[in-house]
Structure formats: C-alpha cells, structure tokens
C-alpha cells in the first residue's frame, strides 16, 4: 500500500526505535517506572499533536483540550470494564470508539463555539473544560462504576509498549498525510486569514470543525491509552492545568510543527519525571521553579519554539 511505502523511512526508523526500547525494557536495564513514563510520553505526544492540529495549524485557541483527553479515558475505561475487555485485540475497537466519542463531542460543541474568535474561544473552551471536570466529579450519580470524585478504579492494564508506540506512530503518519494535503493547506489558510479563505471558496466553518474534531479524536485516543496504562482515573487529571500542559508542549515544540511536538512532548515528560529522579526528595518542589524558568528563557530566545527560528 502507498501509505506504508511513502512513509517507509519513518517506519524503518520507528521499528529501530521500537527494537531498542524493547531490548532495553525486556532485559530490564531500566526500571519499570521509566518504562511507564516512556509510554506516557507517547500518549502526551499524541494528545499534544491533536492540540497542534487545532491551535498550531488551524489557529483555534483551545483551553479545554484535557477535557477531550478525559472523555476518551472515561469512555474507554467504561467500555472495557463493562464489556470485560482484557486483551489488545478486544481493546482495539474500544480504543477507536473512545477516539470517535471524543471527536464527536468536539464536533457537537464545536458547532456553536467555533464561531468565536481568539480570546472568546479561549473562554468558551475553558468553560467547557470546567463543565467536563464537574461532570466527572459527579459521575458516580450516573453510574457507580465511574467513581465520581473518588476516581475510576480497577481498569485493566492493556497499554503496553507495542500498543502505545505503534498507535502513536500510525496516527502521526495519518496526521502528517492530512497536513500535507489540501485539507491541511486549507487549515493553514484559515489560520492566516479567515476572510480571504472564504474569498477563495474555503468553507471555513467546515474546516475549523474538521480540525477541531480530528484534534479531539487524537486526544480521545491518547486518553484511552492513558486509562489502560495507569488503570486509575481521577477527574483532577483532566482539568484546566492539564490543558495548559498540552498547550505548553505545542508552543515549546512550535506551532504547526509535528516534529517539534514530538521533541517537546519527550522533553516535557522527561523534565517533570526526570527531575523527580535527579532531585533529592526534599527539593522536589523546585521542579516548579526550574520549569517556568526554562519556559521564560525559551520564549525569550526562541519564541517560535524549539524547531523553527522564525515565524
């Protein structure tokens, strides 16, 4: 198939990375904890990539990305628990459905709010994020399984290296193909100038909705992988602070750069979790001094992100 042939170099590289990781983790050269955060970094990359499609490529500022990540996580956990799924094969449709679920919610909420611009859209998405958080906090009123503010417990651990890695690689390739097609071009046109886009016949509402739902779809997949990696969900993992994490990754990596998002995702997880290992326990809170300092320095020297020098 052309899809795989075209991407052969990336796939080859991915397979090499996979083999190295497999060997490292297989022979237990690194602790289980490191394995866990490595898988988590793939999930973060995937979810941030979704926000990059929405914000970096299409220019729709969203402060509610973690809500869609959360929707994916809860939908998948609920499905796999109520259907008794415990293997990768059975999990694939659940994974896909959680992505579609998050994408669908994104589509429905996007119809009214994507008419808004810039800061107004930010407030609307912020409101939506808060709404989802409140619903998750009270979710035990709909179904006891969801756990409400006590958290969702007892999710089967299904996410492993193969699943997290290859799903992420596959979806990065899919995203790349969309970005380098007329649709990706139209997204960038919309970001540059909405009126001019309409002037050349681009249905801007449709393009914005498409980018938004696709970005939410990626967040949903990320959330589903997350749920089955940590086996425990808590509403506080999906609030505004989490949305800001994704936003920072997109900006650090560079708006509209896939490779940038990958690096930034790795650096972000590496920084937060890596410092946890390096720093002595009593200085752990200093992480929240180092990270903001790093961000300030980065914005001063490389305002367009790690990858690009100019706008």
């Amino acid at each position: 198939m052309k899809f795989f042939w075209e991407a052969r170099k990336v796939i080859l590289l991915a397979v090499l990375i996979y083999l190295v990781l497999k060997a490292v983790f297989g022979f237990q050269l690194l602790s289980q904890y490191i394995e866990q955060i490595t898988l988590f970094s793939f999930i973060v990359i995937l979810t941030s990539l979704g926000l990059n499609v929405i914000y970096g490529y299409t220019g729709q500022f969203s402060l509610g990305h973690a809500a869609f990540y959360g929707i994916g996580a809860y939908v998948s956990a609920y499905l796999s628990k109520s259907l008794g799924v415990d293997g990768i094969l059975g999990f694939m449709p659940v994974l896909f459905l959680s992505g579609v679920g998050a994408g669908l919610v994104g589509y429905l909420i996007g119809i009214p709010i994507l008419r808004l611009r810039d800061d107004f859209l930010a407030i609307a998405t912020l409101g939506f994020g808060t709404l989802v958080r409140v619903i998750l906090d009270n979710s035990d009123r709909f179904s006891e399984v969801l756990g409400g503010s006590r958290g969702f417990v007892g999710i089967p651990r299904i996410t492993n290296l193969e699943l997290a890695f290859f799903v992420t690689v596959f979806l990065i390739l899919v995203t790349r193909n969309i970005i380098f097609s007329r649709f990706g071009l139209f997204w960038r046109c919309v970001k540059n100038d909405e009126l001019a886009s309409q002037g050349i016949g681009i249905n801007t509402s449709r393009m914005k909705l498409m980018a938004f739902s696709y970005g939410c779809f990626l967040a949903g997949i990320g959330g589903a992988l997350y749920a089955h990696l940590y086996t425990f969900l808590h509403p506080s993992n999906f609030d505004i602070l989490k949305s800001i994490d994704f936003l920072i990754i997109v900006i650090v990596g560079g708006m509209g750069s896939i490779v940038g998002t990958i690096y930034a995702g790795l650096i972000w997880v590496g920084f937060i979790e890596g410092l946890r290992i390096v720093l002595p326990a009593e200085m752990l809170d200093l992480r929240w001094v180092f990270i903001p300092l790093f961000l300030i320095a980065l914005m001063m020297w490389r305002p367009y992100g790690l990858i690009r020098k100019g706008g």
């Binding site: 198939m1 052309k2 899809f3 075209e6 899919v174 193909n177 969309i178 097609s181 007329r182 649709f183 071009l185 139209f186 960038r188 046109c189 540059n192 100038d193 009126l195 001019a196 886009s197 309409q198 002037g199 050349i200 016949g201 681009i202 249905n203 801007t204 706008g311």
Partner: protein, 255 residues
C-alpha cells in the same frame, strides 16, 4: 448576455445608507470600472456581490441567478473571484501555497484519499501544482515560489493576489483598488498586466479604482457612485465630461 445585473441594491449600517438603491449591469466580456469619492459605497457593493454583506433590499443576478443571499465561500464555485482593497494574502504561507490553495479549492480528492495517499491524491496534486506554476509564471513571480507572501514587495503582492483569484478560474473577476499605493510607473505595469489578463483569460471584470489613468484605460464602461447612489454611467469619454461627476470630485461651482 448579461454576466451581472444589480437591481435596486440597498445596504445600511445604522443610520448610514452605504448603498442606496443602485442598479447597473455588466455584459459578458465587458470591463466595468466603478469610481467615486471616498466613502461612496464602492467596496460595499463588492462585499454585497461576494456575499460578505447581506443586502437589505435588491437583487444581484449572476447569469440570471440571484446570488444575493449566498455565503461568500459558495461564490468562487459559481465563477466569481475577487481581490481585496487592502490585500488579503495568506501572509505566512509561501507564494506557491497561496496560489495552490485556490487551485485545490475547486474540487479534488476526499479525506480518505489524502490519508491513504490514493492515486487520486497524486494525480490531483500534480495537476494542481502544474497549474499553480503556470499562473505564477504568467504573473512574473517565478523564482519566488518558496518565499512567504508577506515578504514580497507591495507590487508583487498585488500580482500574487490576482494570480490567486485567477486560479479559481472565474467568469467574473472583481478587483478592488489594485492601484492603491502605487506610483505612476507601477500603475503603467498594472495596466499592462490587466490588459494581458483580459486577453489571456476570457473574463468579465469589475474594477474599483481611484487612479483615473488606470481605470479610464482599461474600462469599456464606467459607473460613478457618490453617497451610495449611482450619479453617472457611460463610456470613459462620456463620464469625464459629465457635470455631476465633476461636481462630485471637485465640488460645486460657486454661484
């Protein structure tokens, strides 16, 4: 055959009647210039034709089809393209992408073809790229394909906007003040370009312009507007001698 017919068009903003019952028509293949003092409502007429504003009253017939209430993105599909008064390029996109986007709007492959890179994708893309290259060449922008549009000099940005509009293969082209901010020599170049465009693409053109040297040179007919109304219409020669027109531009003769 009439390409465009405007009938009793009205548009108000608050208390201001920006366009106050204007009517005129454009024959197929004709070039019509709209002139008038600042604030006469010329650009509002363009925005009404291209769907950016909705008229309060009146009809806009494009080949006998009323297009007065269509959203702007539907008009290029029907064959209407425009340029903007203060240039609306996709500044951060390259010159090539600016033109390519307009070529690719006119149909092509669907999302699945894009994701899985079907034959349809490759065929459409390569045809579109070839077409974009030809247009870039026609407008003398070859060699600048990979530059960000915002980095081009002003005159070239104007040409790029024309190239992008023509990539839509319009039947009717609306050009809003292409000569704004140009010196007499650049205007000469623009007259040449516009005449070449007319020769090469069989087009009906409506042009808003303040530079009389430009608009009198390329128009078959002139419509003069003042305070939202049409005060004169005719060939450039007729309009130049029209008393009302002279008054609108120079003020009334003292009694």
């Amino acid at each position: 055959m009439k390409a465009l017919a405007i009938e009793g068009l009205e548009k108000g903003f608050g208390g201001v009647r920006a366009v106050d019952g204007i009517s005129f028509s454009v024959e197929e293949g004709e070039t019509v210039g709209i002139i008038g003092p600042n604030g006469a409502g010329k650009t509002t007429v363009f925005n009404l034709i291209t769907g950016f504003y909705r008229p309060d009253r009146g009809k806009i017939l494009f080949y006998d089809k009323n297009i007065a209430h269509l959203p702007p993105h539907k008009l290029p599909r029907l064959g209407i393209a425009r340029t903007f008064q203060n240039l609306r390029l996709f500044g951060k996109l390259t010159v090539f992408e600016n033109v390519l986007s307009a070529v690719l709007v006119r149909g092509g492959y669907n999302l699945l073809s894009a994701v899985f890179r079907s034959t349809d994708y490759f065929v459409t893309e390569s045809k579109a790229e070839e077409k974009a290259r030809k247009l870039i060449e026609f407008f003398n922008l070859t060699g600048k394909e990979d530059q960000a549009a915002e980095n081009l000099p002003y005159g070239e940005q104007r040409r790029l906007e024309l190239a992008r509009a023509l990539a839509l293969e319009p039947k009717l082209l609306l050009v809003d003040e292409p000569g704004a901010g140009m010196n007499p020599i650049e205007i000469q170049g623009l007259v040449q370009t516009m005449n070449e465009v007319k020769r090469r693409f069989s087009l009906t053109i409506v042009i808003i312009e303040h530079q009389m040297g430009l608009v009198m040179n390329i128009s078959d007919k002139i419509v003069v507007m003042d305070f939202g109304e049409k005060i004169a219409e005719g060939t450039p020669e007729q309009v130049k001698k029209d008393k009302k027109v002279i008054e609108a531009y120079l003020g009334e003769e003292p009694l």
